[in-house]
Protein backbone atom coordinates (compact mmCIF):
# COMPACT_ATOMS: atom_id res chain seq x y z
CA UNK A 1 0.00 0.00 0.00
CA UNK A 2 2.84 2.33 0.86
CA UNK A 3 4.35 1.63 -2.53
CA UNK A 4 1.05 2.25 -4.30
CA UNK A 5 0.56 5.55 -2.50
CA UNK A 6 4.13 6.59 -3.29
CA UNK A 7 3.78 5.75 -6.96
CA UNK A 8 0.42 7.49 -7.32
CA UNK A 9 1.69 10.58 -5.59
CA UNK A 10 4.90 10.67 -7.62
CA UNK A 11 3.02 10.21 -10.85
CA UNK A 12 0.45 12.91 -10.14
CA UNK A 13 2.77 15.48 -8.66
CA UNK A 14 6.07 14.95 -10.46
CA UNK A 15 5.82 12.69 -13.49
CA UNK A 16 2.72 14.09 -15.20
CA UNK A 17 3.75 17.75 -14.83
CA UNK A 18 7.29 17.06 -15.99
CA UNK A 19 6.23 14.92 -18.92
CA UNK A 20 3.84 17.74 -19.79
CA UNK A 21 6.89 19.93 -20.23
CA UNK A 22 8.60 17.34 -22.43
CA UNK A 23 5.43 16.86 -24.48
CA UNK A 24 4.89 20.57 -24.92
CA UNK A 25 8.45 21.13 -26.10
CA UNK A 26 8.25 18.21 -28.53
CA UNK A 27 5.06 19.79 -29.89
CA UNK A 28 7.08 22.82 -30.91
CA UNK A 29 8.93 20.92 -33.59
CA UNK A 30 12.67 20.79 -33.91
CA UNK A 31 13.10 23.88 -36.06
CA UNK A 32 11.14 26.17 -33.77
CA UNK A 33 12.72 24.61 -30.69
CA UNK A 34 16.23 25.23 -32.00
CA UNK A 35 15.31 28.75 -33.09
CA UNK A 36 14.33 29.59 -29.51
CA UNK A 37 17.19 27.70 -27.90
CA UNK A 38 19.76 29.41 -30.12
CA UNK A 39 18.19 32.84 -29.89
CA UNK A 40 20.99 35.24 -28.87
CA UNK A 41 19.10 36.42 -25.79
CA UNK A 42 18.46 32.83 -24.66
CA UNK A 43 22.06 31.86 -25.26
CA UNK A 44 23.39 34.80 -23.31
CA UNK A 45 20.99 34.13 -20.42
CA UNK A 46 22.11 30.49 -20.32
CA UNK A 47 25.73 31.57 -20.50
CA UNK A 48 25.24 34.00 -17.61
CA UNK A 49 23.39 31.42 -15.48
CA UNK A 50 25.92 28.66 -16.06
CA UNK A 51 28.95 30.97 -15.94
CA UNK A 52 27.96 32.68 -12.69
CA UNK A 53 26.99 29.33 -11.14
CA UNK A 54 30.37 27.90 -12.14
CA UNK A 55 32.29 30.86 -10.68
CA UNK A 56 30.26 30.74 -7.47
CA UNK A 57 30.75 26.99 -7.15
CA UNK A 58 34.53 27.46 -7.53
CA UNK A 59 34.57 30.10 -4.78
CA UNK A 60 32.42 27.86 -2.60
CA UNK A 61 34.64 24.85 -3.22
CA UNK A 62 37.72 26.80 -2.05
CA UNK A 63 36.16 28.49 0.96
CA UNK A 64 33.99 25.50 1.74
CA UNK A 65 37.04 23.29 2.24
CA UNK A 66 38.75 25.90 4.43
CA UNK A 67 35.56 26.40 6.43
CA UNK A 68 34.96 22.67 6.88
CA UNK A 69 38.58 22.23 7.98
CA UNK A 70 38.31 25.06 10.50
CA UNK A 71 35.06 23.61 11.86
CA UNK A 72 36.37 20.05 12.08
CA UNK A 73 39.92 20.61 13.36
CA UNK A 74 40.13 23.83 15.32
CA UNK A 75 38.56 25.12 18.48
CA UNK A 76 37.66 28.75 18.82
CA UNK A 77 34.98 30.76 20.60
CA UNK A 78 31.61 30.75 18.87
CA UNK A 79 32.39 27.68 16.80
CA UNK A 80 29.05 25.99 17.45
CA UNK A 81 27.14 29.10 16.35
CA UNK A 82 29.25 29.39 13.20
CA UNK A 83 28.64 25.72 12.44
CA UNK A 84 24.89 26.22 12.75
CA UNK A 85 24.99 29.43 10.71
CA UNK A 86 26.42 27.60 7.71
CA UNK A 87 22.93 26.21 7.11
CA UNK A 88 21.36 29.67 7.01
CA UNK A 89 21.05 29.68 3.20
CA UNK A 90 18.95 26.49 3.44
CA UNK A 91 16.59 28.10 5.93
CA UNK A 92 16.41 31.72 4.81
CA UNK A 93 13.87 32.34 2.04
CA UNK A 94 15.66 33.27 -1.15
CA UNK A 95 13.69 36.49 -1.62
CA UNK A 96 14.87 37.69 1.79
CA UNK A 97 18.46 36.85 0.96
CA UNK A 98 18.03 38.62 -2.36
CA UNK A 99 16.84 41.97 -1.00
CA UNK A 100 19.39 41.86 1.84
CA UNK A 101 22.31 41.21 -0.53
CA UNK A 102 21.08 43.84 -2.98
CA UNK A 103 20.95 46.39 -0.14
CA UNK A 104 24.40 45.46 1.18
CA UNK A 105 26.21 45.46 -2.12
CA UNK A 106 24.43 48.44 -3.70
CA UNK A 107 26.78 51.39 -4.41
CA UNK A 108 25.64 53.12 -1.19
CA UNK A 109 25.22 49.92 0.86
CA UNK A 110 27.27 48.81 3.88
CA UNK A 111 29.75 46.91 1.74
CA UNK A 112 29.17 48.62 -1.61
CA UNK A 113 30.22 52.04 -0.33
CA UNK A 114 33.76 50.78 0.29
CA UNK A 115 33.96 49.19 -3.14
CA UNK A 116 32.62 52.10 -5.19
CA UNK A 117 35.74 54.30 -4.67
CA UNK A 118 37.84 51.35 -5.84
CA UNK A 119 35.82 51.21 -9.03
CA UNK A 120 34.25 47.85 -8.14
CA UNK A 121 30.54 47.50 -8.83
CA UNK A 122 28.82 44.40 -7.53
CA UNK A 123 25.09 45.05 -7.40
CA UNK A 124 23.37 45.22 -10.80
CA UNK A 125 26.32 43.49 -12.52
CA UNK A 126 27.17 39.82 -13.17
CA UNK A 127 29.39 40.01 -10.05
CA UNK A 128 26.22 40.49 -8.01
CA UNK A 129 24.83 37.26 -9.43
CA UNK A 130 27.99 35.44 -8.36
CA UNK A 131 27.69 36.86 -4.81
CA UNK A 132 24.07 35.71 -4.55
CA UNK A 133 24.99 32.23 -5.81
CA UNK A 134 27.91 32.01 -3.37
CA UNK A 135 25.38 32.64 -0.59
CA UNK A 136 22.98 30.02 -1.90
CA UNK A 137 25.59 27.33 -2.59
CA UNK A 138 27.85 27.65 0.46
CA UNK A 139 26.27 24.93 2.64
CA UNK A 140 26.47 22.30 -0.10
CA UNK A 141 30.28 22.12 -0.15
CA UNK A 142 30.74 22.48 3.62
CA UNK A 143 28.14 19.86 4.44
CA UNK A 144 29.46 17.30 1.95
CA UNK A 145 33.11 17.77 2.91
CA UNK A 146 32.66 18.07 6.69
CA UNK A 147 31.56 14.48 7.49
CA UNK A 148 34.35 13.03 5.32
CA UNK A 149 36.93 15.22 7.07
CA UNK A 150 35.67 14.02 10.44
CA UNK A 151 36.37 10.47 9.34
CA UNK A 152 40.02 11.14 8.46
CA UNK A 153 42.26 9.02 10.59
CA UNK A 154 44.94 11.15 12.23
CA UNK A 155 47.33 8.22 12.02
CA UNK A 156 47.65 8.84 8.30
CA UNK A 157 48.95 12.33 8.98
CA UNK A 158 51.23 11.04 11.72
CA UNK A 159 52.62 8.45 9.34
CA UNK A 160 53.27 11.12 6.73
CA UNK A 161 54.97 13.28 9.34
CA UNK A 162 57.17 10.46 10.63
CA UNK A 163 58.19 9.72 7.08
CA UNK A 164 59.51 13.25 6.88
CA UNK A 165 56.73 15.12 5.11
CA UNK A 166 56.24 18.74 6.06
CA UNK A 167 52.77 19.82 7.12
CA UNK A 168 52.13 21.43 3.73
CA UNK A 169 53.23 18.28 1.92
CA UNK A 170 50.91 16.22 4.11
CA UNK A 171 48.01 18.53 3.34
CA UNK A 172 48.53 18.74 -0.40
CA UNK A 173 49.81 15.21 -1.09
CA UNK A 174 47.94 13.16 1.51
CA UNK A 175 44.81 14.92 2.75
CA UNK A 176 43.47 16.90 -0.20
CA UNK A 177 43.56 14.08 -2.79
CA UNK A 178 41.37 11.99 -0.50
CA UNK A 179 38.94 14.88 -0.18
CA UNK A 180 38.60 15.37 -3.93
CA UNK A 181 35.41 13.28 -4.34
CA UNK A 182 33.33 15.07 -1.67
CA UNK A 183 34.63 18.44 -2.85
CA UNK A 184 33.59 17.58 -6.41
CA UNK A 185 30.17 16.40 -5.24
CA UNK A 186 29.67 19.58 -3.22
CA UNK A 187 30.84 21.63 -6.16
CA UNK A 188 28.37 19.90 -8.49
CA UNK A 189 25.48 20.33 -6.04
CA UNK A 190 26.26 24.02 -5.54
CA UNK A 191 26.61 24.45 -9.30
CA UNK A 192 23.30 22.72 -10.05
CA UNK A 193 21.53 24.78 -7.44
CA UNK A 194 23.10 27.99 -8.75
CA UNK A 195 22.05 27.36 -12.33
CA UNK A 196 18.37 27.22 -11.39
CA UNK A 197 18.41 29.86 -8.67
CA UNK A 198 15.95 32.69 -9.08
CA UNK A 199 14.81 34.44 -5.89
CA UNK A 200 18.12 35.56 -4.46
CA UNK A 201 19.49 36.64 -7.84
CA UNK A 202 16.84 38.85 -9.41
CA UNK A 203 17.12 41.64 -6.83
CA UNK A 204 20.88 42.06 -7.01
CA UNK A 205 21.37 41.30 -10.73
CA UNK A 206 19.86 44.39 -12.32
CA UNK A 207 18.45 42.03 -14.96
CA UNK A 208 19.82 43.72 -18.07
CA UNK A 209 19.33 41.52 -21.14
CA UNK A 210 22.66 40.22 -22.54
CA UNK A 211 24.48 41.37 -19.40
CA UNK A 212 22.88 40.26 -16.16
CA UNK A 213 19.73 38.40 -17.16
CA UNK A 214 19.64 34.80 -15.91
CA UNK A 215 17.86 31.93 -17.67
CA UNK A 216 15.16 31.35 -15.01
CA UNK A 217 14.25 35.05 -15.21
CA UNK A 218 13.99 34.81 -18.99
CA UNK A 219 11.50 31.96 -18.53
CA UNK A 220 9.43 34.17 -16.23
CA UNK A 221 9.60 37.05 -18.71
CA UNK A 222 8.46 34.80 -21.57
CA UNK A 223 5.60 33.52 -19.43
CA UNK A 224 4.49 37.05 -18.62
CA UNK A 225 4.47 37.74 -22.36
CA UNK A 226 2.28 34.60 -22.74
CA UNK A 227 5.03 33.20 -24.95
CA UNK A 228 4.60 29.66 -23.59
CA UNK A 229 6.59 28.15 -26.46
CA UNK A 230 9.74 30.09 -25.61
CA UNK A 231 9.37 29.48 -21.86
CA UNK A 232 8.97 25.76 -22.52
CA UNK A 233 11.97 25.54 -24.83
CA UNK A 234 14.30 27.37 -22.44
CA UNK A 235 13.09 25.24 -19.55
CA UNK A 236 13.69 22.07 -21.57
CA UNK A 237 17.26 23.12 -22.39
CA UNK A 238 17.90 23.90 -18.70
CA UNK A 239 16.40 20.58 -17.62
CA UNK A 240 18.54 18.59 -20.02
CA UNK A 241 21.66 20.39 -18.84
CA UNK A 242 20.69 19.84 -15.17
CA UNK A 243 20.00 16.19 -15.86
CA UNK A 244 23.51 15.83 -17.26
CA UNK A 245 24.79 17.46 -14.06
CA UNK A 246 22.86 14.97 -11.93
CA UNK A 247 24.34 12.12 -13.92
CA UNK A 248 27.84 13.47 -13.36
CA UNK A 249 27.19 13.78 -9.61
CA UNK A 250 26.11 10.15 -9.48
CA UNK A 251 29.16 9.07 -11.47
CA UNK A 252 31.48 10.96 -9.10
CA UNK A 253 29.79 9.33 -6.15
CA UNK A 254 30.07 5.80 -7.46
CA UNK A 255 33.65 6.49 -8.52
CA UNK A 256 34.57 7.77 -5.07
CA UNK A 257 32.86 4.84 -3.41
CA UNK A 258 34.89 2.48 -5.56
CA UNK A 259 38.12 4.28 -5.00
CA UNK A 260 37.99 5.43 -1.41
CA UNK A 261 35.44 3.12 0.08
CA UNK A 262 32.98 5.84 1.05
CA UNK A 263 30.34 7.90 -0.65
CA UNK A 264 30.46 11.63 -0.48
Amino acid sequence: MALGLTLTWLTLLILIPLSGLAWRSSELGLAKFLAIAFDPRTLSALRISFGAAFAAACINAAFGVVLAWVLVRYRFPGKRVIDAMVDLPFALPTAVAGIALATLYAPNGWIGQFLTPLGIKIAFTPLGIVIALVFVGLPFVVRTVQPVMEEIDKEVEEAAATLGATRLQTIFRVLLPGLAPPVLTGFALAFARGVGEYGSVIFIAGNLPFRSEIAPLLIVIKLEEFNYAAATAIAAVMLVLSFIMLLIINLIQSWSRGRYGYGA
Binding site: L5, V96, I99, L217, V220
Partner: protein, 290 residues
Amino acid sequence: MALDTSLQPTKVRSAVTEHRFARWTLILASLIFLTLILLLPLAAVFVEAFRKGAGAFLEALQDEETFSAIRLTLIVAGVSVPLNLIFGVAAAWAIAKFEFKGKAFLTTLIDLPFSVSPVISGLVFVLLLGANTHLGHWLSAHDIKILFAVPGLILATMFVTFPFVARELIPLMQEQGTGDEEAALSLGASGWQTFWHVTLPNIKWGLLYGVLLCNARAMGEFGAVSVVSGHIRGQTNTMPLQVEILYNEYNFTGAFAVATLLALLALVTLILKTLLEMRYSEEIAASRRH
Protein backbone atom coordinates in the same frame (compact mmCIF):
# COMPACT_ATOMS: atom_id res chain seq x y z
CA MET B 1 41.99 30.84 24.15
CA ALA B 2 41.90 27.08 24.52
CA LEU B 3 43.24 25.63 21.32
CA ASP B 4 43.46 21.88 20.93
CA THR B 5 43.76 21.30 24.66
CA SER B 6 43.34 17.62 23.95
CA LEU B 7 46.80 17.49 22.45
CA GLN B 8 49.73 17.88 24.74
CA PRO B 9 52.27 20.42 23.52
CA THR B 10 55.00 18.13 22.26
CA LYS B 11 57.07 18.26 19.12
CA VAL B 12 54.77 15.79 17.37
CA ARG B 13 51.96 18.29 17.63
CA SER B 14 53.36 20.56 14.96
CA ALA B 15 53.37 17.61 12.60
CA VAL B 16 49.66 16.80 12.79
CA THR B 17 48.26 20.28 13.07
CA GLU B 18 49.11 23.57 11.49
CA HIS B 19 51.29 26.27 12.91
CA ARG B 20 49.51 28.59 15.30
CA PHE B 21 49.80 31.39 12.80
CA ALA B 22 48.35 29.35 9.93
CA ARG B 23 45.56 28.18 12.17
CA TRP B 24 44.45 31.64 13.11
CA THR B 25 44.78 32.89 9.52
CA LEU B 26 42.40 30.17 8.37
CA ILE B 27 39.96 30.84 11.22
CA LEU B 28 40.05 34.56 10.50
CA ALA B 29 39.59 34.06 6.75
CA SER B 30 36.58 31.84 7.42
CA LEU B 31 35.05 34.33 9.80
CA ILE B 32 35.49 37.23 7.38
CA PHE B 33 34.02 35.21 4.53
CA LEU B 34 31.03 34.15 6.63
CA THR B 35 30.49 37.69 7.85
CA LEU B 36 30.42 39.11 4.34
CA ILE B 37 28.26 36.37 2.86
CA LEU B 38 26.00 35.25 5.71
CA LEU B 39 26.01 37.42 8.80
CA LEU B 40 25.83 40.88 7.25
CA PRO B 41 22.86 39.99 5.00
CA LEU B 42 21.01 38.62 8.03
CA ALA B 43 21.85 41.72 10.07
CA ALA B 44 20.85 43.97 7.17
CA VAL B 45 17.33 42.53 7.18
CA PHE B 46 16.76 43.65 10.77
CA VAL B 47 18.60 46.96 10.49
CA GLU B 48 16.70 47.99 7.36
CA ALA B 49 13.37 47.00 8.92
CA PHE B 50 14.03 49.21 11.95
CA ARG B 51 15.79 52.01 10.06
CA LYS B 52 12.85 54.37 10.56
CA GLY B 53 12.23 53.22 14.11
CA ALA B 54 10.10 50.57 15.77
CA GLY B 55 6.94 52.59 15.12
CA ALA B 56 7.41 52.54 11.36
CA PHE B 57 8.23 48.83 11.56
CA LEU B 58 5.02 47.98 13.41
CA GLU B 59 3.01 50.25 11.16
CA ALA B 60 4.41 48.52 8.09
CA LEU B 61 3.20 45.19 9.43
CA GLN B 62 -0.30 46.55 10.12
CA ASP B 63 -1.26 46.18 6.50
CA GLU B 64 -4.24 44.33 5.13
CA GLU B 65 -2.26 42.85 2.22
CA THR B 66 0.56 41.79 4.52
CA PHE B 67 -1.94 40.11 6.83
CA SER B 68 -3.44 38.21 3.93
CA ALA B 69 0.07 37.22 2.76
CA ILE B 70 0.85 35.82 6.21
CA ARG B 71 -2.49 33.99 6.26
CA LEU B 72 -1.88 32.55 2.81
CA THR B 73 1.65 31.38 3.69
CA LEU B 74 0.27 29.60 6.75
CA ILE B 75 -2.48 27.95 4.68
CA VAL B 76 -0.08 26.83 1.95
CA ALA B 77 2.44 25.40 4.43
CA GLY B 78 -0.37 24.00 6.57
CA VAL B 79 -1.69 21.93 3.68
CA SER B 80 1.47 21.00 1.79
CA VAL B 81 3.67 20.02 4.75
CA PRO B 82 1.27 17.41 6.24
CA LEU B 83 0.61 15.96 2.78
CA ASN B 84 4.30 15.69 2.07
CA LEU B 85 4.78 14.21 5.53
CA ILE B 86 2.36 11.39 4.73
CA PHE B 87 3.93 10.87 1.35
CA GLY B 88 7.47 11.04 2.73
CA VAL B 89 6.80 8.34 5.32
CA ALA B 90 5.07 6.14 2.72
CA ALA B 91 7.90 6.58 0.23
CA ALA B 92 10.63 5.95 2.80
CA TRP B 93 8.72 2.91 4.08
CA ALA B 94 8.35 1.50 0.57
CA ILE B 95 11.97 2.10 -0.34
CA ALA B 96 13.63 1.08 2.91
CA LYS B 97 11.57 -1.95 3.92
CA PHE B 98 10.77 -3.65 0.64
CA GLU B 99 12.70 -4.98 -2.31
CA PHE B 100 11.34 -4.28 -5.76
CA LYS B 101 12.48 -3.53 -9.27
CA GLY B 102 13.17 0.06 -10.22
CA LYS B 103 13.98 1.14 -6.67
CA ALA B 104 16.99 3.18 -7.74
CA PHE B 105 14.86 4.93 -10.34
CA LEU B 106 12.20 5.72 -7.74
CA THR B 107 14.83 7.19 -5.41
CA THR B 108 16.11 9.38 -8.23
CA LEU B 109 12.58 10.54 -8.98
CA ILE B 110 12.05 11.57 -5.37
CA ASP B 111 15.21 13.68 -5.52
CA LEU B 112 14.26 15.25 -8.82
CA PRO B 113 12.59 18.44 -7.49
CA PHE B 114 15.91 19.36 -5.83
CA SER B 115 17.67 19.54 -9.16
CA VAL B 116 14.95 21.40 -11.03
CA SER B 117 14.94 25.18 -11.04
CA PRO B 118 12.07 26.51 -8.89
CA VAL B 119 10.88 28.53 -11.86
CA ILE B 120 10.56 25.36 -13.93
CA SER B 121 8.73 23.68 -11.03
CA GLY B 122 6.12 26.41 -11.35
CA LEU B 123 6.18 26.39 -15.13
CA VAL B 124 5.23 22.71 -15.41
CA PHE B 125 1.93 23.46 -13.66
CA VAL B 126 1.25 26.44 -15.90
CA LEU B 127 1.82 24.21 -18.93
CA LEU B 128 -0.38 21.48 -17.51
CA LEU B 129 -3.28 23.56 -16.23
CA GLY B 130 -3.03 26.77 -18.26
CA ALA B 131 -6.08 28.15 -20.06
CA ASN B 132 -4.84 26.93 -23.46
CA THR B 133 -4.59 23.25 -22.47
CA HIS B 134 -7.31 20.60 -22.53
CA LEU B 135 -7.14 20.19 -18.80
CA GLY B 136 -7.21 23.93 -18.25
CA HIS B 137 -10.19 24.19 -20.59
CA TRP B 138 -12.06 21.54 -18.70
CA LEU B 139 -11.23 23.16 -15.37
CA SER B 140 -12.44 26.58 -16.42
CA ALA B 141 -15.59 25.04 -17.94
CA HIS B 142 -16.33 23.52 -14.53
CA ASP B 143 -15.37 26.73 -12.78
CA ILE B 144 -12.47 25.15 -10.88
CA LYS B 145 -9.63 27.56 -10.29
CA ILE B 146 -6.24 26.01 -9.64
CA LEU B 147 -3.74 28.21 -11.43
CA PHE B 148 -3.39 31.78 -10.12
CA ALA B 149 -5.31 30.64 -7.03
CA VAL B 150 -4.55 28.93 -3.73
CA PRO B 151 -4.62 25.29 -5.02
CA GLY B 152 -1.93 26.16 -7.56
CA LEU B 153 0.26 27.64 -4.85
CA ILE B 154 -0.16 24.49 -2.80
CA LEU B 155 0.65 22.24 -5.78
CA ALA B 156 3.82 24.17 -6.65
CA THR B 157 4.93 24.21 -3.00
CA MET B 158 4.33 20.48 -2.69
CA PHE B 159 6.36 19.82 -5.81
CA VAL B 160 9.29 21.81 -4.47
CA THR B 161 9.23 20.49 -0.89
CA PHE B 162 8.38 16.94 -1.88
CA PRO B 163 11.81 15.31 -1.20
CA PHE B 164 12.58 16.71 2.27
CA VAL B 165 10.85 14.18 4.53
CA ALA B 166 11.52 11.13 2.36
CA ARG B 167 15.20 11.98 1.99
CA GLU B 168 15.67 12.34 5.71
CA LEU B 169 13.88 9.07 6.46
CA ILE B 170 15.19 6.71 3.75
CA PRO B 171 18.78 6.37 5.09
CA LEU B 172 17.48 6.20 8.65
CA MET B 173 14.97 3.44 7.93
CA GLN B 174 17.46 1.53 5.80
CA GLU B 175 19.91 1.58 8.68
CA GLN B 176 17.31 0.33 11.14
CA GLY B 177 16.42 -2.58 8.89
CA THR B 178 13.25 -4.66 9.18
CA GLY B 179 14.07 -6.69 12.30
CA ASP B 180 11.83 -4.76 14.70
CA GLU B 181 8.87 -4.89 12.34
CA GLU B 182 9.30 -8.61 11.69
CA ALA B 183 9.36 -9.25 15.44
CA ALA B 184 6.17 -7.21 15.95
CA LEU B 185 4.39 -8.94 13.07
CA SER B 186 5.40 -12.40 14.23
CA LEU B 187 4.02 -11.59 17.69
CA GLY B 188 0.65 -10.93 16.08
CA ALA B 189 0.60 -7.16 15.57
CA SER B 190 -1.27 -5.88 12.55
CA GLY B 191 0.43 -3.78 9.90
CA TRP B 192 -0.94 -0.54 11.35
CA GLN B 193 -0.09 -1.52 14.91
CA THR B 194 3.45 -2.27 13.80
CA PHE B 195 3.69 1.09 12.12
CA TRP B 196 2.28 3.12 15.01
CA HIS B 197 3.99 1.31 17.85
CA VAL B 198 7.27 0.17 16.32
CA THR B 199 8.26 2.10 13.22
CA LEU B 200 7.01 5.56 14.11
CA PRO B 201 8.74 5.75 17.54
CA ASN B 202 11.95 4.63 15.84
CA ILE B 203 11.91 7.42 13.29
CA LYS B 204 10.25 10.27 15.19
CA TRP B 205 13.28 12.53 15.53
CA GLY B 206 14.35 12.06 11.95
CA LEU B 207 10.78 12.74 10.92
CA LEU B 208 10.64 15.94 12.95
CA TYR B 209 13.92 17.03 11.38
CA GLY B 210 12.58 16.45 7.89
CA VAL B 211 9.31 18.24 8.65
CA LEU B 212 11.24 21.22 10.02
CA LEU B 213 13.25 21.61 6.82
CA CYS B 214 10.19 20.96 4.68
CA ASN B 215 8.25 23.66 6.50
CA ALA B 216 11.03 26.24 6.20
CA ARG B 217 11.17 25.71 2.48
CA ALA B 218 7.39 25.63 2.10
CA MET B 219 7.00 28.99 3.81
CA GLY B 220 9.95 30.56 2.05
CA GLU B 221 9.51 29.24 -1.49
CA PHE B 222 9.65 32.02 -4.03
CA GLY B 223 10.42 31.01 -7.63
CA ALA B 224 7.82 28.27 -8.04
CA VAL B 225 4.95 30.10 -6.33
CA SER B 226 5.88 33.30 -8.16
CA VAL B 227 5.13 31.61 -11.49
CA VAL B 228 1.77 30.10 -10.48
CA SER B 229 0.55 32.91 -8.25
CA GLY B 230 -0.55 35.49 -10.79
CA HIS B 231 0.31 38.13 -8.15
CA ILE B 232 -3.25 39.10 -7.28
CA ARG B 233 -2.82 41.53 -4.42
CA GLY B 234 -4.32 40.46 -1.14
CA GLN B 235 -5.34 37.13 -2.67
CA THR B 236 -2.51 35.05 -4.11
CA ASN B 237 0.59 36.68 -2.65
CA THR B 238 2.47 34.63 -0.10
CA MET B 239 4.94 36.35 2.26
CA PRO B 240 7.99 36.02 -0.01
CA LEU B 241 5.96 37.41 -2.93
CA GLN B 242 4.74 40.26 -0.75
CA VAL B 243 8.39 41.03 0.07
CA GLU B 244 9.12 41.29 -3.65
CA ILE B 245 6.15 43.55 -4.39
CA LEU B 246 6.91 45.94 -1.53
CA TYR B 247 10.59 46.04 -2.45
CA ASN B 248 9.86 46.79 -6.10
CA GLU B 249 7.56 49.61 -4.98
CA TYR B 250 10.50 51.10 -3.03
CA ASN B 251 8.60 50.45 0.21
CA PHE B 252 11.80 49.20 1.83
CA THR B 253 10.58 49.40 5.42
CA GLY B 254 7.56 47.31 4.50
CA ALA B 255 9.59 44.79 2.49
CA PHE B 256 12.17 44.33 5.23
CA ALA B 257 9.49 44.21 7.94
CA VAL B 258 7.89 41.19 6.25
CA ALA B 259 11.40 39.86 5.61
CA THR B 260 12.19 39.95 9.36
CA LEU B 261 9.30 37.57 10.00
CA LEU B 262 10.73 35.16 7.43
CA ALA B 263 14.25 35.63 8.82
CA LEU B 264 12.95 34.83 12.31
CA LEU B 265 11.37 31.69 10.92
CA ALA B 266 14.76 30.77 9.45
CA LEU B 267 16.53 31.40 12.77
CA VAL B 268 14.01 29.35 14.73
CA THR B 269 14.41 26.57 12.17
CA LEU B 270 18.20 26.68 12.55
CA ILE B 271 18.02 26.63 16.35
CA LEU B 272 15.59 23.70 16.45
CA LYS B 273 17.64 21.89 13.83
CA THR B 274 20.84 22.35 15.84
CA LEU B 275 19.13 21.19 19.04
CA LEU B 276 17.81 18.10 17.28
CA GLU B 277 21.26 17.37 15.87
CA MET B 278 22.90 17.78 19.25
CA ARG B 279 20.48 15.59 21.18
CA TYR B 280 19.43 12.97 18.70
CA SER B 281 22.27 12.91 16.21
CA GLU B 282 22.40 9.12 16.10
CA GLU B 283 18.63 8.87 15.66
CA ILE B 284 18.68 11.33 12.75
CA ALA B 285 19.98 10.14 9.43
CA ALA B 286 23.69 10.69 9.04
CA SER B 287 23.19 12.35 5.69
CA ARG B 288 23.04 16.05 6.38
CA ARG B 289 22.80 17.15 2.80
CA HIS B 290 19.55 18.68 1.65
